[in-house]
């Protein structure tokens, strides 16, 4: 009995990852290819971000990937003066929620954009963002 290697690609996600395995691990490959992606149910057409492996509406697990493209509107944001363990080196940083219409995306504002540059309703795009040590996340940029 050979040991099957565990697929722990998700360990690379973010500054600190809290889980390694998910059935949407391809999300990490897409990020590494420069794309932020969600899933769409092949059966009923529901779109999901963050990507899901299973559709709650029709219980299908047949999903296709789509690219998060264009810009969404900034719903709300906060700049942290304190971070959890492992995030001290990132401070200060801003987390945000952006509404793309059919779905919303939770993430970080790109480094270099300060709070005074931000206002609710402004257009932002999500972009893959390589981090140190082979890690990766995505961040929001002004167009």
């Amino acid at each position: 009995m050979g040991k099957k290697e565990k697929d722990e690609r998700f360990r690379k996600f973010g500054t600190v990852s809290f889980t390694g395995t998910t059935r949407v691990n391809d999300f990490i490959d897409h990020l590494e290819q420069g794309k932020v992606t969600g899933t769409r149910c092949k059966s009923c057409g529901n779109t999901f971000f963050p990507p899901r492996a299973d559709c709650w509406a029709c219980r299908s697990s047949e999903m296709e990937w789509f690219d998060v493209q264009g810009t969404g509107r900034l719903v709300t944001f906060s700049t942290l003066a304190f971070g959890p363990k492992g995030f001290e080196g990132d401070l200060p940083y801003t987390i945000a929620l952006v509404d793309f219409g059919a779905y919303k995306v939770f993430g970080r504002i790109a480094d270099g954009i300060v709070e005074s540059d931000l206002s609710i309703g402004m257009a932002l795009a999500a972009k893959a963002n390589p981090l140190a040590d082979g890690r990766i996340n995505y961040v929001f940029h002004k167009q």
Partner: protein, 388 residues
């Protein structure tokens, strides 16, 4: 309907560091409640233990407590909905009694936040959110509530001063509460003085003064069937309405950012079950883990219209002498927030109010009280209506 009653309520003093074990901490709230009810452990036939397990070193605390509290061989159940575990425990006790399975149930809530370091606490709190898709960005509870605060400010013109006014109210009553962890005065000036700790940013737009403190503590509510309540208790407090709800954990799955959908849903259920509306409530305890949480609670519970919460606090309507006194025990902001004990402490305050035992903070002739207890950032919502 008088089906299920609360016949006793207790809590430990909430402290930064409890110099004992969790079973000893649980004993303090439990013993206080038994004394209040005037009953013995032998009168209790089942228990429900409430905590957020990520802060506990002890696995499966319910079994450990059942022995320590003298509740063997009665069954014990463990429940968890983060910061609203206590209210969820009350709902389970209500169900156990209403079903006829049990007659007298103790709901014991506890948390010893000091068992782990402050940084670990923050990290574990963050893990009460979506660990797969949100936590890797470095989220924390204050930052999530800050995002609601930002949205509320943008939509309604709510100002940081309006939020500070909620903390000032909390401290007004926290100074009177000898079970509270924070008993010093807080003034609005502190929020604008850059040299004052209260003005320091935590997660914009929330400042230190907008946030409650961690604490160690325990609470206990004794719940009984109508028959047992009448034989054991002169002043039963009846559970009239009990609502609870859930929402998507990831903010990306939500549509409302100026209030908590779980609170609105739970409140609707509880009001309907009790056959009353917000205007009928004489005194309320709301989940003010952050000042913005109390502001949204005013609106989610219907004490104020959308965006009108600031008028309620600035008009001092939620003070003891106002039209709807809220958190006149100091709230989480003053008492501290030992996660699993918090809901029981809120319920206790309302029980004391409805029995006319609230002392300096007594709302005259209070007959209907409400408890709003939220788990996570609006992940779980519980609203309970109690009446004499």
């Amino acid at each position: 309907m008088n089906d299920v009653a609360i016949i006793g309520a207790g809590q430990s003093t909430f402290v930064r560091y409890y110099p004992g074990s969790v079973r000893e901490l649980a004993f303090e709230g439990f013993s206080d409640a038994l004394g209040h009810a005037g009953i013995a452990a032998a009168d209790i036939d089942a228990s429900v233990v409430c905590s957020a397990p990520e802060y506990d070193l002890q696995r499966s605390p319910a079994g450990v407590f059942a022995e320590y509290l003298g509740l063997n061989p009665g069954p014990t159940f463990y429940v968890e909905t983060l910061c609203s575990s206590g209210s969820t425990g009350l709902k389970l006790a209500y169900s156990l009694i209403k079903s006829g399975l049990h007659d007298v149930v103790a709901v014991v809530g506890f948390q010893k936040m000091s068992e782990i370091s402050s940084a670990e606490t923050q990290e574990r709190m963050g893990r009460g959110a979506d660990i797969q898709w949100e936590s890797p960005f470095g989220t924390m509870m204050p930052a999530y509530y800050a995002m609601y605060a930002r949205a509320h400010m943008n939509a309604y013109g709510t100002a940081p001063e309006d939020l500070a006014a909620i903390r000032v109210k909390a401290s007004t009553y926290g100074q009177l509460n000898d079970r509270a962890v924070y008993r010093k005065a807080v003034t609005a000036d502190m929020f604008t003085d850059p040299d004052n700790m209260m003005s320091g940013s935590v997660a914009s737009p929330l400042r230190v003064g907008d946030c409650c403190a961690n604490a160690d503590g325990s609470s206990c509510i004794i719940v009984a069937s109508a028959e047992r309540a009448k034989s054991l208790c002169d002043k039963p407090v009846w559970i009239r309405g009990i609502g609870s709800s859930s929402a998507p954990v990831n903010l990306a799955g939500r549509d409302l950012f100026t209030g908590l959908a779980v609170a609105r849903e739970a409140a609707g259920q509880a009001y309907k079950m009790a056959g009353i509306g917000p205007k009928d409530v004489d005194v309320a305890e709301v989940h003010d883990c952050f000042t913005i949480a109390e502001m949204m609670a005013y609106e989610d519970l219907g004490f104020a219209g959308p965006g009108e919460g600031r008028d309620l606090i600035n008009g001092k309507e939620t003070y003891l002498n106002g039209s709807i006194p809220v958190n006149v025990d100091g709230g989480l902001l003053s008492k501290g927030h030992p996660i699993g004990a918090t809901g029981g402490s809120q319920i206790r305050t309302i029980v004391l109010q409805l029995r006319g035992e609230a002392g300096e903070i007594q709302v005259p002739d209070a007959s209907v009280g409400l408890v709003h207890n939220i788990g996570g950032v609006g992940l779980y919502g519980n609203v309970t209506i109690l009446g004499r």
